[in-house]
């Protein structure tokens, strides 16, 4: 039960959505874009989010595209995790989204919602990061397409009225050797202690993490360490862990020391598993 009333809009075009946002915002209604609603509903019922208007983007055609064409895979922001897993254009992304929440919730969570939500893990971002995906955003000045790494750097760097429309992945990344490892505190289904996603591109490992810090990240610094074959495997892993540029999470899911231990185990698994592809 949501303890407050709000207006509900379902525009049919991107322009309408942006205009609505601007208008509602100027009226002080603190509008939010709405996809599957899992985060909004669960947080609104415990007074953790408040708005006077939601703009449902599921009626916008561009947000519902899910197609592999002209060497590009385009996935609209209103596409559900279940749909991504079923179509399975990008197996690494499928494997990742199949471990976000449970199946019932995957039927509701949208790609855009998982990327733009306030829950810190955003695990679907990891395959997009390692595949150098682009993101399409619609704003007051029209559409812009930028590397996803530029948008998601610690925080989501977009202006508040901007709407995630699609992500675009180059076809050549879709079936590269890859790995998804998710470790939780103690559950099959839970937020990650650490989720690791890696992909081998031209003999180098691209790697991204969720749960290790309070935002998902991929850094060149760490990838260079991991790919530096002048050091032994153990030395690389040690150096990797000692050079993480962000504060390692320390919370109910696990202490930061335990996360480092688990990261060590996971990096070992990564190097072993991807050995042949390197």
């Amino acid at each position: 039960m949501i303890p407050f009333n709000f207006d509900y809009y379902k525009p049919n075009t991107l322009t309408d959505a942006i205009n609505l946002y601007t208008e509602l915002d100027s009226m002080g209604k603190s509008p939010i874009y709405y996809g599957g609603g899992t985060e909004f509903i669960s947080m609104a019922r415990v007074h953790n989010v408040h708005t006077k208007a939601v703009i449902d983007i599921k009626g916008i055609p561009e947000c519902n595209i899910h197609v592999l064409k002209n060497t590009k895979l385009t996935i609209g922001s209103a596409i559900t995790l279940t749909n991504i897993a079923i179509k399975n254009h990008f197996p690494l992304l499928s494997r990742t989204v199949k471990r976000i929440a449970d199946h019932t919730i995957q039927d509701k969570i949208t790609l855009g919602g998982n990327l733009a939500g306030t829950i810190i893990y955003k695990e679907s971002l990891l395959p997009l990061m390692v595949a150098n995906a682009n993101i399409v955003l619609e704003g007051i000045n029209g559409s812009r397409t930028v590397p996803i790494m530029d948008v998601f750097c610690k925080e989501m760097n977009i202006s508040k009225e901007e709407l995630i429309v699609q992500v675009i992945i180059d076809e050549r990344y879709l079936n590269l050797p890859s790995l998804h490892v998710k470790r939780t505190k103690n559950e099959k289904i839970d937020y990650p202690l650490i989720t690791l996603v890696a992909l081998v591109d031209q003999g180098k490992i691209n790697i991204a993490f969720s749960g290790l810090s309070d935002f998902p990240f991929r850094t060149k610094l760490l990838e260079d360490i991991l790919n530096d074959e002048s050091f032994s495997k153990d030395e690389r892993i040690k150096k990797f862990i000692n050079n993480i540029p962000y504060k390692i999470l320390d919370d109910l899911a696990g202490s930061s020391e335990y996360r480092k231990f688990m990261l060590n185990v996971m990096l070992n698994e990564t190097l072993e598993n991807l050995q042949e592809a390197l």
């Binding site: 039960m1 949501i2 303890p3 407050f4 019922r45 415990v46 007074h47 505190k185 103690n186 559950e187 099959k188 289904i189 839970d190 937020y191 040690k238 862990i241 000692n242 109910l252 696990g254 202490s255 020391e257 335990y258 480092k260 231990f261 688990m262 060590n264 185990v265």
Partner: protein
């Protein structure tokens, strides 16, 4: 006439089809258009003076009909010590304590308005740890403890301390026995508070009618206790207090106490007696309504060289949280079961129920026995290692037998306790103990087994009663009405089976009244303590005897013989020596009508009752006494696969052998024991309330408080031993709670042996194992 057995057979519960089709109705489903909705504002501090509560803004909010605080109708409640205001007054003692209630037209309006209430607190020091509560110079959570009324004989609060109650056991001479011991082991153990997590959150609807009748519809295990408590606290006439409870969506002890019912009554009073509903959100059910106890224990055991346990000395600190509720009684239950099902002749035990600034507690499946069992069963495994003995053989050697005595010095017989040895021996085969406790797998993982034994009695009130009313329908079927609430285990069906067996008729012709209505149903103490089949079953047999007597009496007139010439089976009254001469129940049920018109007899109604016998409160100095009519014993094991590289583990199997006396419904019993084992695995592996330094509960939602999920269950094995309990219905012992009791200890024993480290604190997560094995520091070297 041949009789097909109606007990010892697996049949679906009477309510199963309604449940699986979604048609069964629970209390929360009954919302009418004239219902007002209340929401509770809860404390954000664990210990603080309430300086002011300003609800002027909230009062003006849309739909609000009334707002009440602890000042509206200040009363104190509690079944053992009257220490708890239903709504906090002047002071809050735990994070989540109710401080104000908004009554509005809709749940949304009430929920919106509570956010508009401004509360000013003056924080006080917090008692966050049991050891701190025991300190002599500790701050007091209840500075007026000496002024509280304590109606129960079990209460012995110690004034100017945080001790709400204590139990002392003194049997034999432990000092001498320790002196004579070859080996002495002493360790500390700890189990955290946790949540009941019943699927249906607690909810209640109260209404005060113009006639003066007070009607409470509630999700409860104890409608009759609600009647008693409300009557006592608010001075209401018991004849005008009606409590109704339909099917309950799980309870596990958490609905055995009275909480929301007090608030709902006060809220209804505040709006002129209109119908007011309060339903906990999942989060409030976790952080505001009572939880499971936490326990710190220190156990010292002494044994001979060949493994005979000579002495046990134990101290238990029970975390009652902010209010006593049934905490002191659970401390008593722990103390009186402190040896586990072993013959230990010298026992000293002190169990203290302590106030802290945690959420207050109430009964939880096992009633303290998980906490009593864990330290003993871990100690026995440690003893086995120290003496280089097989832990199963060590348990066999010490198993309690006929002629031994319990810690409370009551005599053990096969009938009142059952057969521990047979349970252990059967478990040995079931879990394939012979292959070895630890088996190395090819992939470097380790398969390991741990075991534990359990025992439990009821700790019921010495005057606990139950009653059954049977009515014959005009088609010869039997309606069964009794006051135990169907909280899930299928007790309504079990009692119907007992009736069918006693009446030698088909179970499908016996129908339970599924709800409980205190105005209609005979009183049943509380649906707790695994006592329903025993108490209501005994009453049902008496009720059947009454029905049979009436049938024979009227039948003897119709069949022109003496009642002694007759027997009853298959819904017929017939001549013993010639069953072809008979009359059907249906022709007697509502009076017998002669062919030429006249009638005799009338509606046949039978009733039977039961009251506990021979229970004696414990002697305050020695603990001598009797806490329950009988004991149920069993042996359990857990098998895991341990990964020594990642320090994590997988659950493979969980097994229970229980001496059930006589199994009424094998399928239902197996399901109950599996459910208990599953909860035990939850406690062992993940469930715990985590408090921060300010005493605020940090994991009060299912996002962070983890329960074991369906896909994480191991294979469950259940088998029965049947040592008849002579005074029980068909010999059946209580078994509803018992599946949970030994499982946490069995798992800890398995992990400890697999990882070669000691796990004496629950829950045991992979991180816990990593910490124990590495010291908790990541070492990149």
């Amino acid at each position: 006439m041949g009789h097909i057995p109606q007990i010892g057979i697996s049949i679906p519960k009477k309510e199963s089809w309604n449940k699986v089709t979604g048609r069964a109705k629970y209390n929360g489903d009954h919302i009418t258009s004239d219902t007002l909705h209340a929401r509770i504002l809860t404390s954000t501090h664990a210990h603080a003076i309430i300086k002011s509560i300003d609800f002027t803004k909230a009062e003006k909010s849309k739909g609000v009909q009334g707002i009440i605080t602890g000042d509206y109708l200040p009363v104190l409640t509690g079944s053992i010590i009257e220490d708890r205001p239903p709504i906090a007054k002047d002071k809050v003692r735990y994070f989540g304590e109710p401080i104000a209630v908004v009554i509005a037209n809709t749940e949304g309006e009430a929920s919106y308005a509570i956010k508009l209430i401004d509360v000013e607190y003056e924080p006080l020091l917090v008692i966050n740890f049991l050891q701190d509560a025991m300190k002599e110079d500790s701050i007091l959570i209840h500075e007026k403890l000496s002024q509280y009324h304590h109606p129960s004989v079990e209460a012995n609060p110690q004034f100017n301390t945080n001790i709400a109650g204590s139990t002392k056991i003194r049997k034999g001479d432990v000092h001498k026995a320790f002196n004579d011991s070859y080996i002495i082991l002493e360790h500390n153990y700890s189990l955290p508070q946790s949540d009941h997590s019943a699927m249906e959150t607690r909810n209640t609807i109260a209404e005060i009618l113009p006639s003066g009748e007070v009607v409470i519809n509630t999700s409860s295990q104890a409608p009759f206790a609600i009647k008693e408590e409300l009557s006592k606290v608010f001075g209401l006439s018991k004849s005008k207090l009606i409590v109704r409870t339909p099917l309950v969506g799980g309870a596990f002890g958490g609905k055995a106490t009275v909480q929301l019912e007090f608030i709902a009554y006060i809220a209804s009073l505040a709006v002129g007696g209109r119908k007011v509903r309060i339903a906990n959100t999942r989060e409030q059910d976790m952080f505001s309504s009572p939880a499971k106890i936490g326990v710190d224990a220190k156990i010292k055991i002494g044994a001979t060289e060949d493994g005979i346990i000579r002495a046990l000395e134990a101290t238990y600190l029970v975390d009652c949280g902010a209010y006593s509720d049934t905490g002191p009684r659970m401390a008593k239950a722990i103390a009186s079961s402190c040896t586990g099902p072993y013959n230990i002749e010298n026992v000293y035990c002190d169990a203290f129920a302590l106030y802290t600034n945690h959420i207050y507690v109430t009964s939880y499946r096992g009633f303290g026995h998980v906490a009593a069992t864990f330290p003993v069963e871990r100690s026995i495994d440690k003893l086995a290692i120290a003496l280089n003995m097989d832990p199963l053989e060590l348990r066999l050697k010490n198993a309690i037998r006929e002629g031994n005595t319990t810690p409370t010095q009551s005599k053990v017989t096969l009938s009142n306790t059952g057969n521990v040895e047979e349970c252990i021996n059967k478990l040995k085969t079931l879990i394939n103990w012979e292959e070895g406790q630890v088996v190395q797998n090819i992939d470097d993982t380790i398969r390991a087994k741990g075991m534990a034994c359990f025992w439990k009695t009821s700790n019921s009130a010495p005057d606990a009663i139950s009653g059954v009313i049977l009515k014959l329908n005009s088609d010869g079927g039997v309606d069964v009405n009794f006051g135990a609430v169907e909280i899930g285990p299928g007790m309504k069906t079990a009692i119907c089976q007992i009736v069918a067996e006693k009446m030698k008729m088909d179970i499908n012709k016996v129908h339970p009244f599924m709800e409980v209505d205190t105005q209609i149903s005979p009183k049943h103490w509380k649906t707790v303590a695994s006592m329903t089949t025993f108490m209501a079953g005994n009453a049902a047999i008496k009720a059947c005897e009454s029905i049979i007597k009436q049938l024979k009496s009227i039948g003897s007139i119709v069949l022109r013989c003496t009642p002694e010439d007759l027997d009853v089976a298959n819904q017929k009254v017939f001549l013993r020596d010639d069953p072809s001469v008979f009359i059907h129940f249906k022709d007697l049920a509502h009076g017998y009508k002669y062919a030429d018109g006249p009638s005799i007899g009338g509606e046949i109604i039978g009733h039977g009752n039961y009251i506990m016998k021979h229970l004696v409160p414990l002697n305050p100095e020695t603990g001598q006494g009797k806490t329950g009519p009988s004991i149920t014993v069993g042996a359990q094991a857990v098998e895991i696969e341990y990964d020594p590289v990642k320090y994590d583990y997988r659950l493979l199997k969980a097994a229970t052998i229980i001496d059930a006396g006589k199994i009424i419904n094998p399928g239902a019993a197996k399901g109950l024991l599996m459910g208990g084992m599953s909860m035990g695995l939850g406690l062992a592996t993940r469930e715990e309330f985590v408090y921060n330094a300010q005493g605020q509960l940090e994991n009060s939602s299912l996002r962070t408080y983890k329960l074991i999920h369906f896909g994480e269950q191991p294979e469950y094995l259940v088998e029965f031993v049947e040592t008849e309990q002579i005074d029980a219905p068909f010999g059946a012992r209580g078994l509803a709670e018992h599946g949970i009791i030994g499982i946490p200890a069995a798992l800890a024993n398995a992990i400890s042996i697999a990882s070669q480290a000691d796990f004496d604190t629950l829950p045991i997560s992979p991180e816990t194992i990593w910490k124990a094995k590495t010291g908790g520091k990541y070492d990149s070297l």
